[in-house]
């Protein structure tokens, strides 16, 4: 029998799962997520919400695995397509062709603007990023790349080298040479490095992990022009901005600027599988390069038979329902609501930025991020701050989100901000002292403090169980279970 997560989980079971995660994967990750009440166990994953197996509480999924669930969680059309496909297909054979692969590629290309007619099958965002960079470098015969400060394309060799935050790179150096980092929306900075040595300019139309910074129209026009002048390949990473996220199928359509190469992943998997792709223009030197090197990037798990069926179903759903129309309306309503909240809290909120349903709220202090995640989680909103810009809390809801849900989320944020102000009454005066501020912004101390508070809270919960608790916690039994775990045996409560 394969494992099936039970609808509800006791505290003991949760502790055992966290023990296993800590033992086999990363104890640090468990501790980190506990800090902000983000260690939930997702059940009933449906549409814009899920429930936590431990508390039974319903959460709005404001993260969507960084924008992987654009067609909603548990989308029946996608699931049924995959289920039917399983009666005939598996991953299929790497390097062989199938009707699924070709049909998917043709469909994807037909949904991209202009002469973006050619496809490379890939598996993930970083895999596609590698393919895009290899294509640009191989075709131009140049080495260097211009990428964005705080940009994020993945954490594998190519994408890590193109990461715009040193934190992710410094422990793994030396990485690939020749990446020139520039701030987004600064054309002069690009002009200073642009030359005939540059193979590509790589950017997300809106920096996602970088803190929701949309590129301006002027910037995009300028990049296109610079690329044309120097024979540089313009690459758009549409991994987070694609599949309707910004109010059009692809963000590039909003700008009317066609990149030479674009790539996608995440939502391509429909939340139930894995797929990605590169689409490139039918122009020289790209076409000749690929004709001469048909195997320049052969992604073993990219463009699998099942993956192509799934992405095909996702595209059908997105296009048939014109999800971008709802994205535009819901995005506007969400942004207006957030701006209202920002105005009311202008002492702590710096600014609200958005592009469709890619919405970020930036605080004036970096240390607020974890506290805000925590306060949001308590309000039933599961949100994650931007990896490359922790002072920005981002909201990436499913594209089918209703107006009522948007309003519900906004009132949750309002309540969370209210609660956060209580913490801030103490912390803000302290943060004025530079040394204390440094301590407050230190993630290590944040995690320690957060866990300490969490332990205190759980201890309190055990002593005075709440009505809503799924089962009466048994402190003695839990302690006993923990002892047995340490002894290496499996508690009887967890059966395979």
């Amino acid at each position: 029998m394969a494992y099936k997560g039970s609808e509800r989980m006791s505290i003991e079971e949760r502790d055992y799962m966290q023990y296993l995660f800590g033992k086999h994967i990363s104890q640090g990750q468990v501790t980190y997520l506990r800090t902000a009440h983000m260690d939930v166990y997702e059940r009933n994953r449906k549409g814009a919400t899920f429930t936590d197996a431990v508390s039974g509480k319903r959460f709005y999924d404001c993260f969507s695995s960084a924008g992987s669930f654009n067609c909603g969680r548990g989308n029946e059309a996608v699931i049924d397509a995959l289920s039917d496909a399983l009666d005939t297909y598996d991953m299929g054979s790497h390097l062989l062709l199938s009707e699924n692969k070709v049909r998917f590629a043709v469909k994807l290309a037909s949904l991209c603007p202009g002469d973006l007619n050619k496809v490379v099958l890939c598996a993930t965002g970083s895999d596609a990023c590698a393919a895009a960079l290899k294509l640009a470098k191989g075709a131009t015969g140049r080495n260097d790349v211009i990428n964005m400060l705080r940009g994020y394309h993945g954490l594998q060799g190519f994408s890590l080298s193109a990461n715009g935050k040193d934190y992710y790179k410094e422990l793994f150096v030396p990485l690939m040479p020749g990446f020139h980092v520039v701030p987004i929306n600064d054309l002069e900075a690009v002009r200073r490095v642009a030359s005939r040595n540059i193979a590509a300019i790589l950017l997300e139309p809106t920096l996602g992990e970088g803190g929701i910074h949309p590129a301006t129209q002027e910037y995009m026009n300028g990049l296109r022009q610079i690329c044309d002048e120097h024979g540089i390949m313009l690459i758009f990473d549409e991994v987070q901005t694609g599949f309707g996220r910004t109010g059009a199928l692809w963000a590039m359509e909003q700008y009317g600027v066609i990149p030479d190469i674009m790539f996608t992943a995440k939502s391509a998997g429909g939340g139930v599988y894995v797929n990605g792709a590169v689409v490139y223009r039918e122009i020289e030197p790209l076409v000749s390069y690929v004709e001469a090197n048909p195997l320049f990037h052969t992604s073993h798990s990219g463009g699998t038979d099942l993956g192509c069926v799934v992405t095909g179903a996702v595209l059908d759903y997105i296009v048939e329902n014109k999800v971008w129309e709802n994205v535009a309306t819901a995005g506007r309503r969400f942004k207006e609501g957030l701006e209202q909240i920002a105005r009311e809290n202008s002492d702590i909120v710096k600014e609200v930025r958005s592009f469709g349903l890619m919405i970020g709220i930036e605080y004036k202090y970096e240390f607020i991020a974890a506290i805000m995640s925590d306060c949001l989680a308590k309000q039933g909103l599961w949100a994650v701050f931007s990896a490359n810009s922790p002072q920005v809390m981002r909201f990436q809801l499913t594209t089918a989100i209703s107006q009522e849900d948007v309003d519900g989320i906004l009132s949750g944020i309002r309540a969370a901000v209210k609660e956060m102000r209580i913490y801030l009454m103490l912390l803000l005066p302290l943060a004025k002292v530079p040394m204390i501020r440094k301590v407050l912004q230190n993630t290590k101390y944040q995690i320690k403090a957060g866990n300490w508070m969490r332990n205190l809270e759980e201890f309190g919960n055990r002593l005075f169980p709440r009505r809503a608790a799924p089962r009466r916690p048994r402190p003695l039994r839990a302690a006993f279970q923990r002892l047995r775990m340490r002894a290496g045996s499996t508690p009887s409560i967890v059966r395979k």
Partner: protein
């Protein structure tokens, strides 16, 4: 067992015409040269089908992915059920699915390789391994052996003997490549700056090259002496392919990091893993979320992998691979002796077997002719004069017999 063959209404020529446009004409030509110019239409058991309903004995198995046959029924049933219960999950969460698969894997993989990082595609896990080795040891260099093939991203490419990689400009610096099987060269290359020694213990794509077990033991002790970590890539040799669960068991040498491939899900879900010792996990403990992958550790993928591991344990396909591998090697060696002009040599272990032909052209012809006989095989990617035989590990003696007949005929034809 579901063995339905679905015919497609589309004309293959039309689809190939579209493929020429959307991918490249040269790709389709490349397939044609090997006789792979058919449209795959799923598979079942030891066979795959094309769009016209023709069945082929699958001796390619997507480079050693379908170890439990095509579309294993039991995995499929679990997958379908889970599809209505769970999904990908949010990346950063410590989900119970990830936890349970991690426990399951630590039981499945021999020795003290108790920890795991989930990847998606082969190559992903090699990127993770290189980062872990550098991060943990705080050393910049890697030492690897000639003739390897690890993946398509830049750490993996830097280590691989892969034609055309110079087109991509500067890759990851700090890689020293030494001759395979040469202990002295390895001794000189492994220093206090070496983060890891990385190799496939059996180079599947390079005529199944392997060394005597003394070599691996010496590499292990060189690593121990210098503090470098030993990384084995068993993407193709793992999950029973060579007659034991993992090939390293036959060598009596434990790596610190082991890369395992998509055979982990029986080829039903794109998922790979890097498994490693508890000592190395310290790095991920003190740097949580320093390396993540959105599709890695996909909750549905975890269910599929657990179902596949159950099947591996239930069927123990490594025994079948060991038994049938001996017979197959004997038959192929006899054929090699008979066709000495065409076959240079035969090598391999278990059901990972490589036939080295006189020329690259002959290898392509071999593939093409074998397909006419109803057997799908592919050439090696490092040594392109080789043809690899890597069927489902659940293949029967009758099917092996049929395969040998086709190979015999193929050798006469080419």
């Amino acid at each position: 067992m579901a063995n339905v063959i679905t015919k497609s209404a589309a004309k293959p020529n039309d689809v190939f015409q579209e493929a020429r446009k959307v991918f490249s004409a040269s790709y389709v030509e490349m397939l044609r040269e090997k006789g792979h110019d058919f449209l795959e239409q799923g598979g079942a058991g030891s066979f795959l089908s094309d769009s016209e309903g023709t069945r082929y004995l699958d001796c390619y198995t997507s480079a050693g992915t379908f170890n439990l046959g095509r579309r294993n029924e039991s995995i499929k049933v679990s997958f379908k059920k889970a599809l209505y219960e769970t999904d990908q999950g949010n990346i950063v969460m410590p989900s119970d699915y990830k936890s349970m698969l991690a426990r399951r894997l630590s039981e499945f993989v021999p020795g003290n390789l108790d920890c795991v990082f989930y990847g998606v595609t082969r190559g992903d896990s090699m990127e993770a391994a290189c980062k872990l080795a550098r991060g943990f040891t705080a050393r910049p260099e890697f030492v690897t052996v000639e003739g390897g093939l690890y993946g398509e991203d830049s750490f993996a490419l830097s280590l691989s003997e892969r034609s055309g990689k110079e087109q991509f400009g500067g890759l990851i610096p700090g890689v020293k490549t030494v001759p395979f099987g040469d202990v002295d060269a390895a001794r000189k290359a492994i220093t206090s700056r070496t983060a890891a020694f990385i190799m496939e213990p059996i180079q599947a794509e390079n005529h199944c090259r392997m060394a005597d077990s003394g070599y691996y033991r010496q590499i292990r002790s060189l690593c121990d002496a210098s503090g470098a970590k030993l990384v084995f890539d068993e993407t193709q040799s793992g999950f029973g392919r060579t007659g034991t669960k993992f090939f390293f068991e036959q060598l009596g040498v434990m790596p610190d990091i082991l890369i395992i491939g998509e055979a982990m899900t029986g080829g039903m879900f794109p998922m790979t893993a890097m498994v490693f010792t508890a000592e190395l996990k310290h790095f991920f403990d003190i740097h949580p979320l320093i390396h993540v992958c959105t599709f890695g550790g996909h909750d549905l993928g975890c269910v599929v992998a657990m179902a596949a591991l159950d099947e591996y344990d239930r069927l123990g396909p490594w025994d079948n691979a060991a038994d049938l591998g001996v017979g197959l090697m004997k038959d192929l060696s006899a054929l090699a002796a008979k066709h000495a002009g065409k076959i240079i040599s035969v090598a391999g272990k278990g059901l990972l077997v490589s036939i080295k032909l006189a020329t690259e052209d002959l290898a392509k012809k071999f593939c093409s002719s074998a397909r006419q006989g109803g057997v799908l095989v592919n050439t090696g990617r490092v040594d392109t004069t080789t043809v690899l035989i890597r069927p489902s590990l659940l293949i029967g003696t009758e099917e092996i017999g049929r395969m040998v007949i086709v190979i015999t005929k193929t050798l006469e034809e080419i």
